[in-house]
């Protein structure tokens, strides 16, 4: 059999991008992974205890039936919107700056989604009966909309991510000679025989453009559907048409902020200063300013409507947020999500990665609190019982341990991924996808001819 020609695009940063993958697993990696595994282990132990004893080990009660776990669910699904936003929506809008950070963002999508799904499982009283959702599923229930939308999102994200990774896996297969043999076999299998023909790149781009449209629709659907779990009930304040758009905006906001954090860590840890220039952070800064203002708009729209309408049961929840049991959280959230970050973005953020990371960390802490403050206060003042039974909720260590382990799990998957795969897309950031000399004259003409005909026609 004739040895097939393989072509890889030229990328001036190839060395820098592949460098983090080259060294064998060292003590530093093991220390990090081991540490994260220990945190996960504590969470797993807490979960096993919860599984045996029941959800009584949490702080949940009546009427606060949903607590930290559901907050985590909404938060992780929100984080997951980072990648799709950057790789699909910005792809469609032709924002070129997205290219170097597309993969880092998509990886965040991929590695936070499973933990969103896990949060739902952890919250279930009978996780052993999860198959009932498939056996007896009813589409009248918003939870089944969630189930469908999130699984479709997870599946599509894996495909979308894998497609964009394909040319780079092939590159790893051909360029990384010194890695252990199992790693080489992994690249060989995962590359699916990619050869880098112009025809292949052409098809890949077409498929990815098509999928980007689909993913954009999906990203809007998924987080709106997540909010509808609350919005479709008739509980005060949840039952609002604004909850969908508000959740969606919050999701993209926290997701984009998380991308800033991840990029800064990758840049530092893997010495990617040249590949991920400060300019990228400046572009993200502009996006984040828009999102902060959007968040303020939603916040005012929601609360002014509530306050002016002055419906008794809604005012109970309103005051719970502004001056009641959740007031500290509410105001910390307002400062962390909006006041401090917007000041940082406007006055300090430009050309300063440290300030951008500070603001992004605050935004993510704030957005977690926001999810909490949206979900819990309504439950403490349910429609009938607001004057009879006033609920309160204090999470227990079990809930915090499991929460910590979910975040540890996300970091673990992320850090393992970045040690085996290039975290900046080599082919998308390459100067040109046109083969120069890699193909014999005859074949090259054939491929070029085909491509020209397609483009011209």
């Amino acid at each position: 059999m004739r040895q097939a020609q393989v072509y890889h695009p030229d990328n001036q940063y190839e060395e820098a991008i592949l460098d983090p993958i080259k060294p064998p697993i060292n003590a530093r990696d093991l220390l990090l992974w081991g540490g994260l595994l220990v945190v996960m282990g504590i969470g797993v132990a807490a979960y096993v205890r919860q599984f045996i004893l029941g959800l009584g080990v949490t702080g949940m009660n009546r009427p606060v039936y949903w607590g930290v776990y559901i907050t985590n669910f909404v938060f992780f699904i929100g984080l997951a919107h980072s990648g799709t936003f950057i790789s699909a929506i910005l792809r469609l809008s032709g924002a070129e700056f997205r290219k170097p950070l597309a993969r880092a963002a998509e990886a965040l999508t991929l590695f936070s989604l499973p933990f969103g799904v896990a949060s739902i499982m952890i919250d279930m009283g009978r996780p052993d009966r999860v198959m009932n959702v498939i056996l007896y599923g009813r589409f009248e229930s918003p939870l089944l909309w969630d189930f469908t939308a999130v699984s479709l999102y997870l599946f599509s994200s894996v495909v979308f991510f894998y497609l964009s990774l394909l040319p780079d896996i092939a590159l790893c297969r051909d360029r990384l000679e010194d890695v252990p043999s199992w790693q080489r076999s992994m690249y060989r299998i995962l590359a699916l025989g990619w050869k880098g023909h112009p025809e292949q790149f052409h098809r890949l781009e077409r498929v990815m453009d098509g999928m980007a449209i689909f993913m954009t629709m999906l990203v809007v659907t998924v987080h709106t559907v997540v909010s509808w779990v609350f919005g479709m009930t008739i509980q005060p304040v949840w039952h609002s048409a604004l909850i969908g758009p508000f959740f969606l905006l919050g999701a993209i906001f926290s997701g984009t902020a998380a991308v800033v954090i991840v990029l800064a860590i990758l840049r530092k840890a893997y010495h990617l200063e040249d590949v991920l220039p400060v300019g990228l952070f400046n572009s993200l800064r502009k996006l984040l300013i828009v999102f902060s203002l959007g968040w303020l708009y939603m916040m005012i729209a929601e609360h002014l409507t509530l306050y002016y309408g002055n419906i008794p049961e809604e005012m109970e929840v309103f005051w719970q947020r502004f001056t009641g049991d959740f007031s500290i959280m509410f105001w910390v959230m307002t400062f962390a999500v909006f006041v401090v970050p917007i000041l940082i973005f406007i006055f300090r953020g430009k050309n300063s990665i440290a300030w951008m990371v500070t603001a992004s960390v605050l935004i993510n802490i704030g957005m977690w609190l926001e999810r909490y403050v949206v979900i819990i206060p309504t439950e403490t003042r349910p429609r009938l019982l607001y004057e009879l039974v006033q609920g309160s909720y204090t999470p227990t260590w079990t809930e915090w341990a499991i929460t910590a382990s979910l975040f540890a799990g996300m970091f673990l998957l992320y850090s393992i991924f970045t040690r085996f795969f290039p975290v900046v897309p080599l082919w998308e950031t390459a100067e040109t996808l046109e083969p120069e000399t890699a193909f014999p004259e005859k074949r090259q003409r054939g491929f070029r001819g085909a491509r020209r005909r397609r483009l011209g026609g």
């Binding site: 009283g125 996780p127 009930t233």
Partner: protein
């Protein structure tokens, strides 16, 4: 078709909580420790709640105080928000309008508990337990339905439970009529809370039968339903204090 419904005359109710206790023994609702109860985890299918009719109403100070109470079973809504949101049809409305719960199928997601505006749904935060003396006196009643576990059957941990209008009593009354080869009459079916009510404030019957006591009372000008404005169409009808 029968349309089971309950009428509670608040003028007669003395808030003795007998209905709550009768329900507990009839339906094997688990007992929780005082600490758990303080967390709001006690299970009372039929609860008695102090209720100012108007939140701003002054209840006064002893000895000139005024107190109002509301006894609250499941409303068995005609448009139940809990049934709508259940992802697995563990809760459903049967052909006679009783909202039932199948403990065999419930996945414990607690969407129904969150969706119910009346707070009538309870979750088993842990495995139900009784002291040995009490465990000997658990009701052995069984319900034949979509699942093998319904009604008073002892619940496993992690599932939701609620008032069923003592549906096992309906099934028993039907079976008795059948064995005696005669027509079943609506009067033969009475939930435990109605039977036990000290002040005879509770009435139960078929709303489609215009001659039934409950049906006549429901057309009283004093009749009201709780949260009529949220579109759930509850089937427990209260008679306002005069």
């Amino acid at each position: 078709m029968t349309n089971w419904s309950m009428v509670v005359d608040l003028d007669k109710c003395v808030a003795c909580q007998g209905c709550s206790i009768a329900c507990r023994f009839e339906n094997n609702t688990p007992v929780v420790s005082p600490e758990e109860a303080a967390l709001g985890r006690s299970i009372l299918w039929n609860d008695v709640l102090p209720m100012p009719i108007n939140p701003t109403e002054d209840i006064g100070e002893y000895p000139h105080s005024r107190r109002r109470y509301l006894t609250r079973p499941c409303m068995h809504c005609e448009n139940p928000p809990c049934v709508k949101v259940c992802p697995v049809q563990a809760t459903y409305r049967d052909e006679e309008g009783i909202v039932r719960q199948n403990y065999d199928r419930c996945i414990g997601c607690r969407f129904c508990t969150v969706a119910c505006p009346y707070g009538v749904r309870y979750f088993n935060w842990e495995t139900p337990s009784w002291s040995p003396e009490m465990a000997r006196h658990l009701s052995p009643e069984r319900v034949v339905g979509q699942g093998s576990l319904e009604g008073p059957a002892v619940r496993p941990k992690g599932v939701v439970e609620k008032c069923t209008f003592c549906i096992h009593r309906l099934q028993k009354a039907r079976a008795r009529a059948e064995s005696e080869e005669r027509e079943f009459r609506a009067e033969e079916y009475t939930p435990a809370c109605v039977q036990t009510c000290t002040a005879k404030a509770r009435f139960f019957g078929d709303m489609d039968d215009v001659t039934a006591t409950a049906s006549i009372l429901a057309s009283s000008p004093r009749a009201f339903r709780v949260l009529e404005d949220v579109g759930t169409h509850p089937k427990v009808i209260y008679l306002q204090e005069g």
